[in-house]
Symmetry: C2
Subunit: 212 residues, 2 copies
DNA sequence: GAGATTATGTCAGTCGCTGCCACTTGACCA
DNA sequence: TGGTCAAGTGGCAGCGACTGACATAATCTC
């Protein structure tokens, strides 16, 4: 049972610390010896827990590598859900990404150094297994986004337009994220700029008003 | 050394037979006991080879599950490369998919029963690991498509428009493929219809003429 | 502080996958 | 035609990811 949110007790705080320690150890080892070159045993040892415990916090090795990225995506989804229904779908998505980036650096730094996260992001793109897992999560996110947009616009589930829009939007996001990690070296201001510029390229092209 | 294509000798024919047998055995077992419920040992045994040999034909268990799907994608890519440069990007993609579907049922039947392929496709969507691998391959395909379109249109590599277009196009393809497997039960005529209809939804919306 | 919960460690075992080496089989040529 | 070379195959040993079962230790609750 869960009381409606008390101050977290010792147990919860300890769990959080262990989890963060596992993430930090994992990302550091990954960036040092590569993803495949790092064993779960090593990660667990570095965080001072048993291998079995690692698998109680993360269902598999991929998950720990994607955990920070995951947080960023949760923020984005949450931001989308908060957008007023009056905004057009594309505007809502655009505003939501930008909003979800406010204070994200601090949120990341609370777990791992920002630079480590950037290196991890690059590693994800280069490691087939991780890229695959990452794309699957993205696809799940796209599903939820499309469903939310269909809901907002009052469209039946079969209407393909939300999915097409979300696909185009996600395509932009994937590109700009890659540029952010590879070219910009993790600079958020530059990411905002590139994203806005790239989104402007679909804006006019996809801006059919579905309601008129 | 490879002579420029002689008639395949006994050795080649035997390899082909083994490979096809492995695919058939694998897909049948998958559809019977599920992907994770099937071991590579079982697949190898069913095809009458050793486990070691299985891994000489497929780098991993995923690959055999995606092998037929892979063939379809190769056909599509080849069809795109054959499109005349005069066609607009979206038209080229559209014509290429439809063209790549001519005779595809026969090509599939040469390896496995069509119905088994449809069931496999459904399984891919439902099995996280397979979906992930599938999406990664799709992403690779998208990269190549975008590069080809950029080349055709004489655009610099940074221009995001080819990628956005390809992302939207692929979004449509993913949707219609799912419908094909789930709703249409593998009927190609229906797939063509749905695809055309869905593509019409982005056609006008994305039909900026990049050259004018 | 006793007793119920929950987190952790240990251990044994399965499965995917790889390197290594010995053996067989089809290809090619004198 | 027979012999040599290259390529395909099997068996085995071993690593690493992951899981179930059980015992132990740490918090929580009253």
């Amino acid at each position: 049972m869960q009381a409606i949110e008390g101050p977290p007790g010792l147990r919860e705080r300890k769990k959080r610390r262990t989890r963060d320690a596992l993430i930090r150890s994992a990302l550091e080892l990954f960036s040092l010896k590569g993803y495949e070159g790092t064993t779960v045993d090593e990660i667990a040892a570095a965080a001072d827990v048993s291998q079995r415990t690692f698998f109680r916090y993360f269902t598999n090795k991929e998950e720990v590598a994607l955990s920070v990225q995951d947080m960023a995506e949760s923020r984005f989804l949450a931001a989308v859900l908060e957008r007023p229904a009056a905004e057009s779908p594309l505007t809502a998505l655009r505003t939501a990404v930008l909003a979800s980036w406010d204070g994200i650096e601090e949120a990341i730094e609370a777990v791992v150094p920002l630079e480590l996260h950037v290196r991890t992001y690059r590693m994800i793109q280069e490691t087939p297994q991780l890229l695959a897992a990452h794309l699957r999560r993205q696809a799940e996110l796209e599903d939820r986004l499309a469903a939310e947009i269909a809901r907002r616009e009052g469209l039946p589930a079969q209407d393909p337009r939300p999915r097409i829009l979300v696909a185009a939007f996600s395509g932009v996001m994937r590109e700009t994220s890659k540029l952010w990690a590879d070219v910009a070296g993790g600079d958020m201001a530059e990411l905002r700029g590139t994203t806005a510029a790239y989104l402007d390229q679909i804006g006019p092209a996809l801006a059919e008003n579905w309601r008129s």
